[in-house]
Symmetry: C2
Subunit: 114 residues, 2 copies
DNA sequence: TTCATATATTCGATTTTTCATATATCCTGC
DNA sequence: GCAGGATATATGAAAAATCGAATATATGAA
């Protein structure tokens, strides 16, 4: 993982918010990120594709949804950088977390239904 | 310190190398960075000005030289991010450190002469 | 099969970033 | 003050990133 390429990925509002939200929530799909960030579907999708191509995110399809999570193979230092950023700037994604919490009818993950 | 603005600063080869070198060496001037990165003076200078404007670096003039160091007011999380990046990628600036060590007649800091 | 929902991709226009050259400013020694 | 070297800035051209709109693909249900 080239450090410059890594930071280029973080150097965009949409991508950084998506990454930190995913790091915090564990796993999110496109429609959840649309709601949390209040952005169009193509915009979210394009940035996620970029993050997947750089191998920061990995995806898994479940039915009609695609869930994104941090790439398990991510180097330790990269994971630490995101964690440090999140801890040092808790207010940065506060609004996004709130919007996500208020979202109606979020997709149900396998293994989470009753 | 806005996280996105911070990462934009790190998302360039010249700036990231300069930052990490300065973080490692404590203090460097333009001519030392030119030698260490093998880049033109205007290029180095422009990027340093950008880093100073974002308040990642602070400068001090000593005679004809201007020395740059990490801004002492830098938030803890930002300093940690750079440290983590440096520790996790020691080879990234290895060549630059070598070039700097081989540089002839480096400017003498006040208080460092015998 | 057909429809509805979720996600991905392409295209063209706009904005931002980057760079090289040239010019200006500052400092020191004479 | 003046000359020469070191550092800083301005300008315009080239390259890259971003965005919205339109389009395409995939899945599940009827």
């Amino acid at each position: 993982m080239n450090p410059v390429a890594f930071f280029k990925c973080l150097a965009d509002e949409t991508r950084l918010r998506s990454l930190l939200l995913i790091a915090h929530e564990g796993e999110l799909c496109v429609c959840e990120l649309m709601e949390a960030l209040d952005q169009s579907q193509p915009k979210i999708s394009r940035h996620l594709a970029q993050l997947r191509q750089c191998e920061l995110l990995s995806d898994r399809r479940q039915g009609q949804w695609v869930f994104y999570r941090l790439n398990p193979a991510l180097p330790e230092w990269a994971r630490l950088v995101m964690e440090t950023t999140l801890t040092g700037n808790p207010e940065f994604i506060a609004d996004n977390k709130r919007a996500l919490a208020q979202m109606q009818s979020r997709p149900v993950r396998d293994g989470h239904c009753c």
